[in-house]
């Protein structure tokens, strides 16, 4: 297995620090750079860039406008793969929108939808597609053909050949709220499909009355979990510190990347 690349997310407010940082192999791009970003040319030249924007929700087919945007961003970044999420966050008619990643029901109907729409998107891209798991905070009792998320994901990857972007804090949070050991829950997932791994910090959230992803350093337990996961993901190529927020500091970003690298 080739050495894993270690990277972070592009945070526009940290452009000056990222432009001279060492020890970072790649930047994931959740948003395009502003035309006025003075550091963008240096960042583009310095880093491998991973397209990680919101392209659309694959419970529905992407329209031509979204596909054209995805292709344009992929070309702009010269990305080795294109990432999207297993999410369904707005209603079909567009009336309600959560503006936050939210998983679909893990049913046959949604599997059919995601397989068809991801296959169609993959067919329009010049780069491989990878899909990221999304944490659920509660279970939904609807849907006659419900199946466990890891089973649903395995069937999706087998049907599409798409790669898996494994978000480890998402797995850790689900395990926490299910009351199971993270390692045991992780073992259920199709780790042989993993291309990229996300690592992040978690903090207590007042509304959730429990932990959730936060723009903070991953603690030792999360880094141990990462080390546990990495050896079980033979196809993984990259680990990314998953934090993009105006409140993220350069110290936290650089220290997190350094600690991730040391823990691998």
């Amino acid at each position: 297995m080739a050495p894993l690349k270690v990277g972070a997310f592009y945070n526009p407010h940290l452009g000056a620090e990222l432009a001279v940082a060492t020890g970072i192999d790649h930047l994931a791009m959740a948003d395009p750079p502003a035309p006025s970003d003075p550091h963008w040319p240096a960042l583009k030249q310095r880093y491998t860039l991973l397209l990680h924007d919101y392209l659309g929700q694959l419970s529905e087919p992407l329209d031509e406008r979204a596909i054209a945007r995805a292709r344009a961003l992929a070309a702009q970044y010269d990305t080795p793969w294109v990432a999207e999420h297993f999410q369904c966050l707005h209603t079909e008619d567009g009336t309600y929108n959560l503006n936050y990643v939210f998983p679909p029901l893990y049913t046959e109907e949604f599997l059919t939808r995601f397989v068809a729409n991801a296959t169609a998107l993959q067919g329009r891209l010049d780069q491989p597609l990878v899909m990221e798991n999304i944490p659920g905070f509660f279970d939904v009792r609807g849907g006659a053909s419900r199946m466990p998320e890891p089973v649903w994901l395995r069937r999706f990857f087998e049907a599409t050949g798409v790669g898996f972007l494994l978000d480890l804090p998402h797995v850790w949070l689900e395990a926490h709220y299910r009351g199971v050991a993270p390692e045991a829950w992780l073992a259920e997932f199709p780790l042989d499909r993993v291309v990229e791994i996300h690592v992040a910090g978690v903090e207590a959230d007042r509304d959730l009355e429990g932990p959730w992803i936060a723009p903070t350093e991953p603690d030792d337990a999360m880094l141990d979990f990462m080390a546990h996961a990495v050896v079980r993901c033979p196809g993984a190529k990259a680990v990314t510190f998953d934090a993009f927020s105006p409140s993220l500091t350069a110290d936290v970003l650089l220290s997190s990347v350094s600690r991730i690298r040391a823990a691998l």
Binding site: S59, E60, H90, L98, F138, V140, G143, D205, D207, L208
Partner: protein
């Protein structure tokens, strides 16, 4: 009911507090009510944090003078009180949240910033105009075209702002480093704030002709009526309407 329809009900329950409290939702027993409520509150705070930080970024830049960060209001009891009626993305909730922010910032040390009231009206308008349902996906059924009607109408939510200070002259400077708050020229400015079908908010300076078109475009007056009323040659009126349609301020009916 399809699984997609069930998913839509869950999304609506998370976004729409009155629906979440209704028998129509609760009687279905689709999910643990306490967990749904906690997640809905988390989502609401996240939803409006993003918008307040973005739309009130100029007030944010002035916080070292006012000592009031706009997003601080999202941790205040007044915002918590809104959560039981909030509908994420609705104009009503956007208006209510923006009003909380305006009151919070206005309660700070604002004496040295004469244009702050105009600035807050501008920011509040941006946030409210951005709200409302949007088209997430074009269906390919011609829903993005100009339509066949001959009587243009103003798109609901479009706002013509008339300000005492020329804010566009100072906005970019506010986001740059400064020692004392940059000044805005005291001269009237008209700004048109509109949103496209896909949710993109545009602000454009409006001259007197554009302002008149916006005031008179009512879905009843024909192009000929408008041309006479605003005293523009038909070609210039067409060009102006084309621009206004592009940014989502005006539309033509799609009926036959």
């Amino acid at each position: 009911m399809s699984d997609r329809a069930v998913q839509d009900q869950v999304i609506r329950a998370l976004a729409d507090a009155p629906y979440r409290a209704s028998a129509a939702w609760r009687d279905r027993g689709l999910a643990d009510a306490a967990r749904v409520e906690r997640f809905a509150r988390f989502l609401a705070r996240h939803f409006y944090h993003e918008r307040v930080v973005h739309f009130f970024r100029y007030s944010g830049a002035l916080a070292r003078v006012t000592d009031r960060r706009p997003e601080a209001v999202l941790r205040a009891p007044q915002f918590d009180a809104l959560l039981s009626t909030a509908v994420l993305g609705s104009r009503e909730t956007a208006r209510a949240v923006a009003a909380l922010v305006v009151a919070h910032v206005a309660g700070g040390a604002v004496g040295t910033i004469p244009y702050l009231a105009d600035l807050q009206r501008y920011e509040e308008t941006m946030m409210v105009v951005e709200a409302g349902p949007r088209v997430w996906r074009d269906t390919g059924k011609g829903d993005g075209g100009r339509g066949k009607g001959t009587s243009p109408e103003l798109v609901q939510g479009t706002v013509l702002l008339e300000l005492d200070y020329d804010l566009p002259a100072v906005l970019a400077t506010l986001l740059q480093p400064w020692a004392t708050p940059p000044e805005a020229p005291r001269r009237p400015a008209k700004l048109l704030v509109a949103r496209s079908r896909h949710g993109r908010v545009t602000v454009a300076r409006a001259d007197e002709a554009v302002a008149s078109i916006v005031r008179l475009t009512d879905g009843v007056r024909t192009l000929e009526d408008l041309a006479r009323a605003v005293r523009l040659p038909p070609a210039e009126l067409e060009a102006a309407l084309s621009g206004l349609t592009e940014i989502g301020a005006v539309r033509f009916s799609t009926g036959s």
